[in-house]
């Protein structure tokens, strides 16, 4: 049910945005938005009223998601939203230099993140803290960069996730190369790369599709179209829905409601299965919305409508699952309390991890530039250490 090169235009029949509320992406730009976006088919299993829509194709892919599993997905989303809020608070309190909130994108990240196997490998951008959570990251590690204590928070091999990429789009090539390595190893794991709508304009992302198609690499291009690239609306980057890009490279693609955690899980699983069985790459466009600022340094009121935000608040990814759980009698006080307790505990652990983070030593500035000895750097380090030592109080006679 993916939009592939043999069936251009084919897509899921599971629902589409009603014309009136189509995310047009045209706010605040002189460029026409992707005009037909609202008419394009979108995979959706749970709508924003919390109604579960049956879907012949995708239901099979989430058949194992029973009530308990749905509760777990909801818990995940609550927890990562809480992590996001706590980190934002830490920034406001001066404990972090900067923070890129994922508010609104929980379903896209949890739905896809929970589909992965531990031996899959993720190459993400800077906003995928919920994916890192799914990978089992130590909580404090996601703050290290933003507190200014490191250029990356964790050892990528411990959770099979590269540390956040700041150069827009660069990581899509890393994922593709990694996936080429998977082929050579004869393994059946998959590389998954996350990037934004803005990133699709970068040469790197398009070249990654060329290489992925050429080598039939087991890589998933997971694009979170959150409608904004800082102040630039998606309509500036793409005149037609982003998912249509991939088939032109020979890569099947699918457009999914990025605020529907179940649908995100389903399409990611389908793509993973294709990749594992030698079917090559898949492109997923998760249509979602950045409800917060680009980062805590950004002021979105300068460039976007309050109305747009309101529209999207009505499609909140958490609220719809809460409604669904409620309708299934799965949102009882015990469960709700447990979820809240979990979120509280995670937030406390996050804060504690932040505040207790050890400070780097001056000499760390020279470490790990090279893995082998380097004469230039050793000389500089030696000079600098002698310089720092020159500030130490001179040894005094008669004292110990």
């Amino acid at each position: 049910m993916t939009e592939d090169s043999t069936q251009p235009g084919a897509g899921s029949d599971s629902g589409s945005y009603p014309q009136g509320t189509a995310p047009s992406g045209t706010g605040g730009t002189v460029h026409p938005g992707p005009g037909r976006e609202g008419a394009d088919d979108l995979v959706r299993l749970v709508d924003h009223h919390g109604v579960r829509h049956p879907n012949r194709h995708y239901d099979a892919l989430v058949a194992d998601v029973d009530g308990a599993a749905l509760q777990k997905l909801y818990e995940d989303m609550v927890v990562v939203r809480r992590i996001d809020a706590e980190a934002t608070a830490l920034q406001r309190q001066g404990e972090l230099a900067l923070w890129p909130p994922l508010l609104g994108q929980e379903a896209a990240q949890i739905g896809s993140g929970r589909a992965l196997r531990s031996d899959d490998f993720v190459f993400s951008s800077y906003r995928e803290n919920a994916v890192a959570y799914c990978r089992g990251v130590d909580l404090a590690d996601i703050l290290r960069v933003w507190r200014g204590n490191a250029s990356s928070g964790w050892d990528p091999y411990t959770i099979n996730m590269a540390t956040p990429q700041v150069i827009i789009g660069a990581q899509t090539l890393h994922a593709t190369g990694y996936a080429m390595g998977i082929i050579n190893d004869g393994a059946d794991s998959v590389a998954v790369t996350y990037f934004g709508d803005g990133a699709t304009s970068q040469g790197d992302v398009n070249e990654a599709m060329v290489f992925a198609a050429s080598y039939q690499a087991p890589v998933i291009f997971f694009c979170q179209n959150n409608h904004w690239a800082i102040s630039e609306p998606v309509g500036l980057q793409a005149h037609v829905p982003i998912a249509r890009r991939a088939p032109g490279f020979g890569i099947p693609s699918v457009r999914v409601d990025g605020n529907d955690v179940l649908a995100c899980l389903a399409v990611t699983r389908e793509a993973l299965a294709r990749a594992r069985s030698g079917g090559g790459p898949t492109f997923i466009e998760a249509v979602t919305y950045r409800m917060g600022p680009h980062t805590t340094a950004d002021d979105p009121t300068r460039y976007r409508d309050a109305n747009e935000l309101e529209d999207w608040a009505a499609r909140d990814p958490l609220a719809r699952i809460a409604t669904l759980l409620d309708s299934l009698g799965l949102l009882g006080a015990d469960y709700s309390d447990a979820v809240k307790a979990k979120a509280d505990a995670v937030a406390a652990e996050l804060r504690e991890g932040c505040l207790s983070m050890p400070e780097p030593a001056p000499s760390d500035v020279f470490r790990h530039v090279y893995s082998e000895p380097n004469s230039w750097l050793e000389r500089q380090q030696d000079h600098y250490e002698r310089y720092l030592a020159s500030f130490a109080p001179a040894p005094q006679e008669g004292t110990r």
Binding site: S201, W376, L377
Partner: protein
């Protein structure tokens, strides 16, 4: 004369250039409605329209490559690179096209493109937001490279850069955007030469050469040193390619000692070119080898360590002491490591 911030001065200079020449067009990410992440282009799209201030899709190579096409068509594009560390996707277009088209076409095609780059560190940002890539461009024939250190120069030189028929990299010291200064907006950009270095502080013992963000630091160093009886002549290069070596040479012939300081890594940095050129020109006048006080040969570090990387007043004064053969951090026997 009015008092304005550094950032505001660039804005005013851009505005005047756009007023005077309808062919001046601004291109870049988030420069329109938002006015740029540093607000340097604030209000310009509103006043000049979206056809003169273009919010570009997120692709630096394309921004640069379409600017080349615009220049072919007779425009004078002013490109904003959002942060220093994001200029590299445009490197190919800069090095192979912007820098070479005039030469390639034997002068038939001009590339009056200005590339604005907020650069340098000290603002507590994550990776790629604090780099000093100027030496890549000063080594690229066909480009001119300038860096400004105060609001008046920022105002005047952005106009000179735009008026130049050669491509100009205009490096803006982002950590100084909020510094205020007097700006004479009536000044005629044609009345001065953007290629000339400025002697900021006169002195007789040591010549201290720098540019951009470290000019205020160098000035402070000169003040501190004078308390100590050392007279430093501070030179603000302003033009990094070509460098006004005549001015530096005249100073070093007088002082016999040269210290160069910049944030960029030492090896292959601009300090090397300045040391080499001045040694060639002033060998018989030098009392000591030129001293470089620079960032280390490391990727720009995370913010908790950045002030261990950036030259500051104390490190500059230590370098001055070295040039004067006064006691300094390297006095005494060299260690093993230092002899590498």
């Amino acid at each position: 004369m009015s008092t304005m911030t550094f950032g505001r001065a660039i804005n005013a200079g851009l505005r005047r250039a756009m007023d005077e020449d309808p062919k001046v067009i601004l291109m870049g990410e988030d420069i329109g409605k938002l006015g740029g992440v540093f607000r340097i282009t604030d209000g310009l799209q509103k006043d000049f329209g979206a056809h003169r201030v273009l919010d570009s899709p997120l692709a630096e190579a394309a921004i640069m490559g379409t600017a080349v096409g615009m220049a072919y068509r007779g425009y004078r594009p002013v490109v904003e690179i959002q942060f220093d560390g994001f200029i590299y996707p445009a490197f190919d277009q800069i090095v192979c096209q912007v820098a070479k088209l005039h030469y390639r076409t034997q002068g038939a095609v001009r590339m009056p493109i200005t590339i604005r780059v907020p650069f340098g560190g000290g603002i507590g940002s994550p990776e790629h937001h604090s780099e000093s890539p100027e030496a890549y461009f000063t080594h690229t024939s066909g480009l001119r490279v300038i860096s400004v250190s105060n609001p008046q120069d920022a105002y005047t030189m952005i106009q000179q850069a735009i008026r130049s028929d050669d491509p100009v990299l205009y490096f803006e010291p982002k950590r100084r955007y909020h510094v205020k200064g007097e700006v004479d907006e009536a000044v005629d950009p044609a009345s001065s030469d953007m290629g000339a270095a400025h002697v900021v502080t006169r002195g007789t013992d040591v010549t201290l050469v720098t540019y951009g963000p470290l000019v205020p630091t160098a000035r402070d160093a000169a003040i501190a040193a004078s308390d100590d009886g050392v007279s430093i002549e501070v030179i603000d290069l302003r033009s990094l390619a070509p460098i006004d070596f005549a001015t530096v040479e005249a100073s070093v012939r007088k002082t016999g000692r040269l210290v160069v300081t910049h944030e960029a890594a030492q090896s292959g940095g601009l300090g090397a070119e300045i040391a080499a050129s001045i040694t060639e020109r002033c060998f018989d006048y030098l009392e000591h080898a030129p001293v470089r006080v620079t960032g280390f040969d490391i990727p720009y570090p995370y913010s908790k360590l950045e002030f261990h990387h950036l030259p500051d007043l104390d490190r500059i004064l230590d370098g001055v002491d070295r040039a004067l053969r006064r006691p300094n951090s390297l006095s005494g026997p060299e260690t093993e490591g230092a002899a590498l």
